[in-house]
């Protein structure tokens, strides 16, 4: 089940005194810490996607396998390959200052989906049916993720969806020029095919009461996301022409188009704000601005998103805090206060202070408020907050009522798709444990002896291949035809980009007992990745915290490969006179704890 992109390796020479069995599984905290530090992309992913493995698989043209390595943990590779927020790329080692730009991890994922063979086989293991029934409220990313895992673990799962099609935010919150519907539907179908029953158009708490559900099922999981558009909380917000961002986007997704005039102001700093603005252009607006209280650097969207938006002609007005929305019969504009930036909060959000008496007004035909969303109140049991929103423990997902669980954005407030998926899966694991008293899977670090790869040094200087987009811009605005702005990699481009991955899940290690300190490896190293070290400092878990380097030959106790600097080029292994450098492949994997029974 643990597909990792490589055929199993034979152990390296077994008379080696440090010879280990070919595959080891470790749950030592030190190893988890090692993974967190040295495989930055995987640990940056909320769902812990095994990124090096799937990129390697794609490099080997095993598109299906590559897709599966993704799907096993994040379920919707084709979807995420387009709209993921890509926390991994911010951490990619290739993005370090002198190493160029991060690998285009997300779009390689999309390529795996685009090019996976027809009749691609899904490797879904099935556990014996447990006879227990679970109900999930909401078919968004969190709900679907939970449903998928519970079904696999042998539960009988039913999903209730208030809208008429499943997908939640994926379908109603993300415009189709970003995420073509056929891609989405196919991946949702792939979840439902596990025998999950889906009931659409049912609004829990209205059509069916939560109590009844609790009666019919062994457990109920609320994953109904955040559908309440937040308000600016300033005067004039109820004037005609002031639209809540989310509803506006959902209406369009559902097919209702409304006229918004020429001049549109959007407030908000997230993807929704950008969706609203770019949709506005597609509805004929000519002058669209996004108004933010901080500045561009603080926007919670990718650089590419900002660039594309600007290309389409959208302006960004920074350091502007809405004071009130002006207008008599309908909206006429926003009155702003100029702000001064303060320190960022620990959460990385920019705090600002408005400047007294710095008011200024910008005119607008329509104002779209996209300052965030919140969960909706729900009738029924369980402890609520003052707004009537069901509360639950963030770790074990349990509400105050036994058998009633909460997950996804409903639990955490608005986050990203990938976070929601991760949250849904964790909730499923918890429910399964509560209902059966047993753990089905565990996360472990898999360590395998290995040899250096076929990566060529020249691959390290291949420039990052950006996602091709539809140009010139005017071609994006064809009437009643949806144009996906990002046109996707060709398989050749994907293959080329996949070469750029350093494969950080390889671990290089000098056996100090064998080393003769000849520094041949340092002499051949691509950067300062091999160090003359006086001391190795461990943290409380026993993982390397720091290497104390020294230039005094007398103090050199060891020559050490700093895996957080290493780009896995393999030069050192090739040149070592005494073969004291070993390579192992270490991967953070989820593995079954019990004998699985194929369905």
């Amino acid at each position: 089940m643990m597909a990792n992109g490589f055929a199993p390796e034979k152990p390296i020479d077994s008379n080696d005194e440090h010879a280990e069995p070919n595959v080891l599984y470790s749950t030592d905290p030190a190893d988890f810490r090692y993974m967190a530090v040295n495989v930055p992309c995987q640990s940056a992913c909320p769902a812990l996607t095994n990124i090096p493995a799937y990129i390697r698989a794609l490099y080997e043209s095993k598109f299906g396998l590559s897709y599966e390595i993704n799907r096993i943990v994040n379920l919707f590779p084709g979807t995420l390959g387009r709209i993921c927020s890509r926390p991994c790329e911010l951490k990619c080692r290739h993005g370090e200052p002198e190493l160029g730009k991060p690998v285009n991890i997300c779009h390689i994922k999309r390529a795996a989906a685009d090019f996976r063979p027809l009749g691609h086989a899904y490797l879904s293991p099935r556990f014996a049916p447990s006879g227990k029934r679970v109900c999930i409220v909401g078919s968004g990313p969190a709900g679907l993720a939970a449903a998928h895992d519970l079904a696999i673990l042998g539960f009988d799962v039913t999903i209730y969806e208030a809208c008429y099609e499943p997908g939640g935010m994926l379908r109603y919150g993300i415009p189709d020029f970003r995420l073509p519907r056929n891609v989405l539907s196919e991946e949702i179908q792939n979840v439902l095919r596990l025998g999950i029953s889906l009931k659409v158009g049912v609004n829990i708490g209205v059509d069916i009461s939560l109590e009844n559900l609790m009666g019919d099922f062994d457990a109920v999981l609320v994953a109904s996301g955040c559908y309440e558009s937040m308000k600016l909380g300033v005067p004039g917000e109820n004037l005609p022409g002031v639209l809540p961002g989310l509803n506006y986007v959902m209406d369009i997704a559902a097919g209702y188009k409304q006229s918004i005039g020429k001049k549109v102001l959007v407030t908000g700093a997230g993807f929704t704000a950008f969706d609203c603005s770019r949709l506005a252009l597609r509805l004929g607006a000519e002058d669209v601005s996004i108004c933010i209280r901080g500045f561009e650097e603080d926007l919670r969207v990718t650089r590419e998103e900002i660039l594309e938006a600007k290309r389409e002609g959208i302006k960004i007005r920074s350091l502007s805090l809405s004071k009130q929305i002006v207008g008599s019969s309908k909206v006429e504009g926003i009155e702003f206060l100029r702000t001064r930036p303060l320190e960022k909060t620990s959460g990385g959000r920019r705090k600002v202070e408005p400047i007294e008496g710095s008011e200024f007004v910008i005119a607008a035909d329509t104002v779209i408020v996209a300052v965030g969303q919140a969960p909706r109140p729900i009738k029924g049991p369980g402890e609520k907050n003052d707004r009537g929103v069901l509360l639950a423990d963030r770790k074990n997902f349990q509400s105050s009522t036994p058998g009633l669980y909460v997950t996804g954005d409903y639990l955490t407030g608005p986050t990203t798709v990938i976070e929601a998926i991760a949250s849904g899966r964790k909730a499923a694991e918890r429910i399964a444990y509560d209902l059966t008293g047993r753990k089905f899977t565990e996360w472990a670090v898999q360590i395998q002896n290995f040899r250096i790869t076929d990566r060529d040094r020249s691959w390290d200087v291949i420039p990052r291949i950006e996602m091709p987009t539809v140009m010139p811009v005017k071609n994006r605005f064809r009437n009643n035809e949806v144009v996906e702005v990002e046109s996707g990699y060709s398989s050749e481009l994907a293959h080329e980009e996949s070469k750029r991955c350093y494969l950080c899940y390889l671990h290089y290690e000098i056996d100090v007992a064998k080393c003769i300190y000849c520094r041949y490896c340092i002499d051949n190293a691509p950067r300062d990745c091999i160090k003359l070290v006086k001391q190795v400092l461990l943290d409380e878990t026993g993982a390397v915290k720091d290497l104390v380097e020294t230039t005094r030959w007398l103090d050199v106790n060891a020559v050490v490969i700093d895996n957080s600097r290493c780009i896995r080029c393999g030069e050192c292994v090739r040149v070592c006179p005494v073969d004291c450098i070993s390579v192992s492949r270490v991967e953070l994997l989820e593995r079954p704890l019990v004998q699985e029974s194929k369905a």
Binding site: P97, E98, F295, E296, E297, L307, K310, R311, E312, G313, K315, R317, S318, L319, S320, R338, R340, P341, I355, E356, G357, S358, M471, P472, V473, K474
Partner: protein, 338 residues
């Protein structure tokens, strides 16, 4: 170590006057200037004359190398600062050199502004900021006899004069995106286009540019919403934007420029910004403003230096010089001559 190490990023009027002021204030300190451009301090406003062949390249430069030796200022040209580590107080250069500082003045000035929509055509569009831009123009003009200028800033106007002197055919697009730094209203539009037409320049009236295609080495086709134009070269003059991209994610407050207070001080101690790259908050205006032009740059440069050396000078503003552009107030001491 007792000797203070001051680093100045930039080599424009602000940077040079800052350096000189700093030297006056502290004779002992080590002063290093970095400029990503390979040429020494020059008079930007003379570039069109240079193109027109009225002056020699040498006349552009206003400080001999010897000057820096006399002032004991280390001038390091053609060396790009790519990052600043404000916690370790290091400046990091493109070639991976790490230079420590006790005090820092950011005076990188502006760089030609190219709206994102046009960035695809970046290499087709010619700009004019540095002597090397000028050399490129001179090269180009030896092949082409017609030039389309999308612009509205002063440089574009004085370049247009130069082009006419050289007997080139000039077409001019004056649209809102291009006109800068004052917002383009009907009356200014008529004023400027009128003036230009008298000089025999063909004005192209249009709202937006749809497409630019390079037909051959020296032949471009520009599609506007009103017509199809063929020209030899294309000049883009959307004014300047502060050249501070390299400071992103250093923890410095960057909006249009480096945000500083009325004393030109940034969030970090002993770190100042001056000249076109600074976005100064001013309590009198209750707003930010970016200053444009030689005179301002010099003034700001000297103030930043003095404050770094311990004084407490405040930036002076003449509200009548302040214009609002796309949400930012701009102080345009020289715009008056328009």
């Amino acid at each position: 170590m007792s000797v203070k190490r001051f680093v100045i990023i930039g080599n424009g009027p602000a940077a040079n006057h800052a350096a000189e002021a700093l030297r006056e204030k502290s004779s002992e300190s080590k002063i290093t200037m970095f400029s990503k451009d390979p040429f020494r301090s020059y008079r930007a406003h003379l570039l069109p004359d240079f193109i027109a062949g009225l002056i020699e390249e040498e006349d552009l430069y206003n400080r001999p190398y010897a000057h820096y030796n006399e002032m004991d200022i280390t001038l390091r040209l053609g060396q790009r600062v790519v990052n600043v580590d404000f916690s370790k107080r290091n400046v990091i250069l493109d070639h991976k050199e790490v230079v420590p500082f006790d005090g820092l003045i950011i005076a990188t000035g502006g760089k030609p502004r190219i709206p994102e929509l046009f960035q695809l055509f970046g290499d087709i569009m010619m700009t004019l900021k540095t002597p090397s831009d000028a050399r490129l123009w001179i090269q180009k003009l030896s092949y082409v006899d017609s030039v389309l200028i999308i612009g509205g800033d002063l440089t574009s106007l004085s370049l247009t004069k130069a082009l006419l002197k050289l007997g080139k055919r000039v077409k001019f697009i004056l649209n809102e995106d291009a006109f800068w730094p004052v917002p383009l209203n009907e009356e200014i539009y008529r004023a400027v286009t009128g003036r230009l037409e008298q000089r025999g320049i063909e004005i192209v009236h249009c709202r937006r540019i749809r497409r630019i295609t390079q037909l051959e080495e020296n032949l471009l086709e520009v599609e506007t919403d009103s017509e199809l134009i063929e020209v030899g070269a294309l000049g883009a003059f959307f004014g300047l934007v502060p050249d501070v991209g390299f400071l992103a994610r250093t923890g410095l407050d960057i909006d249009r420029g480096v945000l500083v207070n009325e004393f030109l001080k940034t969030r970090f101690s002993n770190v100042y910004a001056a000249g076109d790259c600074a976005q100064v908050y001013h309590p009198v205006l209750r707003d930010y403003w970016i200053s444009i032009g030689h005179e301002n740059a010099i003034a700001l440069g000297r103030i930043a230096a003095s404050n770094l050396a311990g004084s407490h000078l405040e930036v002076q503003v003449e509200p009548e010089n302040i214009l609002e552009v796309g949400g930012v107030k701009v102080n345009t001491s020289w715009w008056t001559e328009f």
